[in-house]
């Protein structure tokens, strides 16, 4: 039996190795990385075309539209989170790791967020300018989306895990996950609205942070349970 410290070190080793593997994989498939981003930009550019180019109207709708479309873009990228691992058998190996699966699973999600959520959040202020969102709100938009997309990745991973054994589950995954995304959307857009109208957005941002903490603490249990069911099925 190894001592507690050795055990922790081994856990760190597995977690870091997992993160490295995910980042390498993302780099090898770097063509796919741009897709959610392109989706984001394209759908946002439909907004003025579909509603009105009137900048006062766009300023009103802009931040909400950006949040909704970022939610969808993040959602579209979820299906592939565990699917490749399921198909080639590495998911079985992940579940057979002789240790708590919390760290490796969180690392997979961290990698996913770094590859989708962060780029979406970074490009959002640019799109916000195109939709005439007031300049004061851009910083809060970026910050709220950084936290919000992390929540989306964690909660979406529950859906991805529960549908991992199903073929063409992308739509089902969306149905399962969208209701769970609603609180994040509400407080995310509220933070941006507050900032745009000169109010403090500290409150909504703090609640977003609380959601993130809750998701980090609880989502992995559901994710691991879902993965076990998927491999079992």
């Amino acid at each position: 039996m190894s001592s507690g410290r050795d055990n922790t070190q081994a856990q760190h080793g597995y977690a870091l190795a997992m993160l490295k593997r995910e980042l390498i994989l993302a780099y090898r498939k770097r063509g796919d990385l741009a897709n959610p981003l392109l989706f984001f930009v394209m759908v946002i550019s439909l907004v003025p075309l579909g509603i009105s180019p009137d900048s006062s109207l766009l300023a009103l709708l802009g931040s909400g539209m950006i949040w909704v479309v970022a939610l969808l873009a993040s959602l579209l990228s979820m299906d592939s989170l565990f699917r490749g691992d399921y198909e080639d058998g590495s998911l079985e190996q992940l579940l057979l790791m002789p240790q708590a699966l919390l760290a490796p699973v969180l690392m997979k999600i961290l990698a996913h967020w770094l590859m989708t959520g962060v780029p979406l959040a970074l490009i959002a202020p640019l799109l916000a300018v195109m939709l005439s969102v007031p300049g004061e709100a851009l910083g809060v938009l970026l910050l709220s989306l950084l936290v919000g997309t992390a929540c989306f990745s964690l909660v979406g991973a529950i859906g991805a895990a529960l549908t991992v054994a199903l073929r063409r589950a992308s739509l089902l995954l969306s149905l399962v996950v969208i209701p769970l995304y609603i609180p994040v959307l509400i407080f995310g857009t509220a933070a941006v609205h507050n900032a745009a109208s000169g109010l403090s957005s500290a409150g909504p941002l703090a609640i977003l942070g609380a959601f993130l903490a809750l998701a980090i603490a609880l989502a992995p249990f559901a994710i691991i349970a879902g993965l076990r069911i998927g491999v079992d099925g």
Partner: protein
């Protein structure tokens, strides 16, 4: 505590896990439960629709409350029934609990739909519009989405057991999320003042209106239990159709 009460409970719990026992016991209860439920339903509806006083502002249109409020109530309770069944099914690996989950999902979805639909009918004469993005209505709509997600996941698996377990995990996640969703939507609603119309909130509801409403809520609990048990019996027969006792029932013409 080794009290006899505990032993009885444990025995009952154990028996609940047996489909055959449940089917046979419920065959005995069902006529009574149906009769009581039907009687209360008629009583409550006649009381509420015909004898309760008219509302000073809304006239007779408020009477849909006797359907709307109990349905909303049980729609909410139904989700917790599912989640508890899911926990029992996952932790104790009890097949019957998973079948309860299967039986409860469409029932809850229908109740949620009734709640939304009756709300819309009520809304038309009251606010002049079918739909208002009120906090409660929006929460109900999200609850319907949650129900539909659970049902979609249940039916997506070829292996029914996997589908049951996956949907059980989802209901538990949903159960944790429901209070968060409700509070968020409530907060969202106060943020966007203007569209808000206070709904079903009856601070000065007259006792003559409240009593039949209470009766209808109790009746809906019984109705829920009745339909749930009937759904569950269908699930039992479907799963146990190859077993000896179901065959015997069928041969003796006692299935229904």
């Amino acid at each position: 505590m080794g009290s006899p009460m505990w032993a009885v409970l444990k025995n009952f719990w154990h028996k609940l896990g047996s489909p055959k026992w449940f089917y046979q016991m419920s065959s005995r209860w069902l006529p009574w439960l149906s009769a009581i439920t039907l009687g209360l339903l008629v009583w409550g509806l006649v009381w509420g629709l015909a004898y309760a006083p008219m509302d000073a502002k809304q006239g007779n249109s408020y009477r849909i409350i006797f359907l709307h409020v109990p349905a909303s109530f049980l729609a909410m309770v139904g989700y917790y029934v599912m989640a508890i069944a899911g926990i029992v099914g996952l932790v104790w690996r009890m097949k019957m609990a998973m079948w309860v989950l299967r039986a409860a999902a469409p029932l809850g979805a229908v109740l949620t739909f009734i709640s939304l639909f009756s709300g819309a009918i009520w809304g038309k004469p009251t606010w002049g519009t079918w739909w208002v993005w009120d906090a409660r209505i929006t929460s109900m709509l999200i609850l319907l989405f949650l129900y539909l997600g659970v049902m979609a996941l249940q039916n997506a698996f070829e292996n029914e057991d996997s589908g049951n377990r996956a949907s059980a995990v989802l209901t538990i996640v949903g159960m944790i999320n429901i209070p968060i969703i409700y509070k968020s939507v409530e907060w969202w609603n106060t943020l966007h003042q203007g569209a808000t119309i206070k709904f079903t909130e009856a601070p000065s509801m007259h006792m003559d209106m409240f009593k039949p409403l209470l009766l209808m809520i109790v009746t809906f609990y019984l109705l829920y239990a009745l339909v749930l048990i009937m759904n569950l019996r269908c699930e039992i027969l479907r799963h146990e159709r190859r077993s000896q006792w179901v065959r015997e029932l069928a041969l003796n013409g006692k299935l229904l």
